[in-house]
Symmetry: C2
Subunit: 516 residues, 2 copies
């Protein structure tokens, strides 16, 4: 017991040290040294904890992709990239970590979810939290004022993972953004067109794209009597409307955030409104709403947006929804979010951990794309504060993967993980050299070919491998075939076999597998 008291005394002493160091503005080096001492001690304690159990796992909230998942991922990426390229986008890449200060002050409360790298000397670094802030940094750093780019890469958030629902700590983002000073709402409309195209082509089922505008939200708050300094917090409560009932939302506004009941009721009336261009027109005439200059600007642009969406023939899926209020601080104009509306596509929670978050997720899991206009972000990086207006969209690719994986699981269709066209095989012994020689000929001819790495494999096991991995053809060599200068070409599905002259083999394989 005396020892324990001693330790407590020692820790008090250390408090002293810390206080003194602070008073003296001691050098960071001194502190680093002390930190190193303590961490080393911690490591030693770890060693004393008894025999160390090696854990064979990936980091919490992350996963490997196996070949089947990669095959699905490749298909999804191809669909998305095709659409981005159809719209003339270039692509860029940025490092996985940024200077810590680059990310500071961009994500509001969510900043606590940023992964920091250990201070190993040199710069303080953090893993990127999204692709938008690195994009803005890239534009400012290179003084780019016009670009249409996509960027597909992984981002990192120390969030509570819910892997059964496709929420990970390491996940892909898939962003398309248009930067530049242009006439209003044309790039914005193109972003929505792209969401429409991609969701249609991915064939995920029915979807709806909700649209609103930061300016309409702010104007609405103003005319409803929300004090200026409460816009952000009330906005984040409104953002919960797709997960909570209006009663609960109102309760939070009034009881937790101190809004007057009257103001809350007025907000309640507006946020229940949904429509299209007609609604924008109606609200422009609305006695209250029309008092806000901001709201009128947003509503006028909303009308213009819908006129372009009509030209793009996507108004069937787009809804002007006053309850949409996306969380991120940096949006300044139009905002949007696409949700799947068909039941049955959402994986059910299985762990108790997921259960706890169920209320929060039961609806938002349907969200598969989102974005908006952020005209101020690049200016935050420019030394002279020069603005570059931007609008963009991010495809919620992990949700899409989850759904596609489920679909593949449910369907009878077998996902191939290689593209091998032909297996070079033999039924007889001692033909390894001949098999290797033929395989090499096929490779040189651009044919995707495999050969077993065995001196004398059984024909059955060679055929079985073809069945298992979906290889459509087998080129079989034997003494007789070698003598005749032919190869026995077998179609795996039908078991049909024909002799093909060695000179024609590449052409024949190409012809047959282009039909498959």
């Amino acid at each position: 017991m005396a020892d324990k008291a001693q330790i407590q005394e020692s820790i008090k002493n250390q408090g002293e040290v810390v206080r003194k160091l602070k008073v003296e503005k001691a050098s960071k080096d001194q502190i680093d040294e002390e930190v190193a001492k303590l961490l080393e001690l911690k490591a030693q304690l770890g060693g004393d904890d008894g025999k160390h159990q090696f854990v064979l796992k990936t980091a919490k909230g992350t996963r490997d992709y196996n070949p089947k998942q990669m095959a699905i991922r490749e298909r999804v990426f191809n669909t998305i990239v095709s659409s981005f390229k159809r719209h003339g986008a270039e692509t860029i890449d940025t490092p996985v970590f940024e200077l810590k200060e680059t990310l500071t002050g961009k994500y509001g409360e969510d900043s606590k979810l940023i992964y920091d790298l250990k201070d190993q000397g040199g710069e303080l670094l953090s893993l990127r939290y999204d692709l938008t802030v690195p994009f803005a940094r890239y534009l400012a750093m290179n003084k780019i004022t016009n670009i249409k780019r996509y960027h597909i890469a992984k981002v990192y958030r120390r969030d509570n993972p819910a892997m059964t629902r496709g929420r990970y700590r390491e996940f892909y983002q898939c962003d398309f953004d248009i930067a530049g000073q242009y006439d209003p709402m044309i790039p914005d409309a193109e972003c929505l067109k792209i969401v429409h195209e991609i969701l249609s082509e991915l064939d995920l089922g029915e979807f709806r794209i909700k649209v609103n505008d930061r300016r309409i939200l702010d104007g609405m708050f103003a005319v409803c009597g929300v004090p200026d300094d409460k816009f952000r917090t009330i906005c984040s409560t409104v953002d919960k409307l797709d997960k909570m009932s209006w009663e609960d939302v109102k309760n939070e506004m009034v009881k937790e955030k101190g809004l007057s009941e009257e103001a809350a009721d007025q907000i309640g009336e507006y946020v229940s409104m949904q429509g299209g261009m007609d609604l924008a027109e109606r609200l422009l005439q609305d006695q209250k709403m029309s008092q806000s200059k901001q709201a009128c600007a947003g509503l006028t642009d909303m009308k213009l947006l819908f006129s372009y969406l009509q030209l793009f023939q996507v108004t069937d899926k787009v809804v002007f929804d006053l309850s949409l209020a996306r969380g991120l601080d940096y949006y300044t104009g139009i905002i949007y979010e696409a949700v799947l509306t068909q039941a049955g596509v959402v994986p059910a929670p299985v762990s108790s951990e997921a259960q706890n978050g169920a209320a929060e997720e039961s609806v938002s899991v349907g969200s598969v794309a989102g974005g908006g206009r952020y005209d101020g972000l690049v200016g935050m990086f420019d030394p002279k504060g020069r603005k570059v207006p931007c609008v963009g969209v991010s495809i919620g690719i992990e949700r899409v993967f989850s759904i596609m994986e489920q679909k593949a699981e449910a369907s009878a269709e077998k996902v191939r993980t290689t593209e091998v066209q032909v297996m070079v095989a033999s039924a007889q012994k001692n033909l390894l050299e001949e098999r290797l020689k033929l395989t090499s000929e096929l490779w040189n001819g651009g044919i995707k070919a495999e050969v077993m790495y065995k001196k004398n494999p059984k024909l059955l096991s060679q055929l079985q491998h073809c069945e298992d991995s979906g290889i459509p053809l087998v080129a079989i060599l034997g003494e007789q075939e070698l003598k005749d200068g032919v190869v026995k070409l077998r179609t795996v599905a039908t078991r049909e076999e024909v002799d093909v002259s060695r000179a024609d083999l590449i052409e024949e394989i190409r012809k047959r597998t282009s039909e498959v």
Copy 2:
């Protein structure tokens, strides 16, 4: 001065604390708390350092890829992935960070270059250092005993960057590996065939693939009288032979590492040998070498390897070179490295920092691929130590990028960063809606099309954009064309214009751009 003494006293006190905590095996939590206090203090000190200067840059040793670099990167990846797929490889992906302990003890001295994540509570994590260790972890974790996979992803090393020479702290690796128990040297030969294919197709100029075997090296050291416990360190000296003269290497062996002069001279004789299958045969008869069982096993396999390489027709580029000794600890059998042999492809050092490392790099910069057999690595992860033999190759993709970029820079050829086929334009005013409508029709028809985001852009600026970004066609709309139901299709290169009926437009664009 008294204050300084006080601080020193305080730090001494803290030493006390640390010692006591250690004695008492205090909880890690206690230490974490103290560490947090100190780090917080450090942060506060940072704030006091005077007005903070915001730095607009990427982290040291990293870079953005701009659209032009991305276009080159995509081409290089396509070539490499095509080869991997031709050989029947699947692909996997692993997280960018691993549990710290997964990487521990795999890289020998280089472990100091690993990036650690900050301890923010939870698991201790590190950024991956290569793709091989995560691959081995993946195999052990999923009990996979057979796979042929490629993996292209970024890895992280806190190395001294030399960016002008393509050495970064964040860089791509591009790995192909074959795991499984197979007959000897067949997968090994395929890896060399792949290196040969890829380097030929990338058209980087003349290259040579050096081959050796860990067992031949170890056997050679044994018969030359190197003590067992000096194998590794002597091996790492031999590894410097491509950067240092034999005299310097010998000096290091004898003077720094205490080898006898006689042993060094014997090593010197062997490591000057180069050849093919003949050399392997000769060494099998060598009086000294043949005394080592290990060396004989390696030499017998080397002969077998060359027989397969003959079937694959790649012996023109492959050299059995006894001086090749790759650094990584985990190799157990054959090792290889491909180098470019043509002068003039190597970027010259520009910074003084690069100058300092010039001697070290003047030759090794030519290395563009490397790999070998590592039969023990997976077993390090398996709880029961079950081994999965592996052989693989890594393409030094950053070097390849550097060379390709230089080539693109030097050539007149313009690198396109988009694939846009047609620009929808107009010469007259007030045709924005018509332009948007036509563009949408083209998108829906699968055509890659762009339109200017301006109400009334000048025709000249629309044409200029096509010139700048290499768009081959312009679809021009005017009042007359709208009336006639046609579009004026202009070929940018020739300035030729023809009217195309709107119904035929998509087909016509497709036809013309497939020829381009």
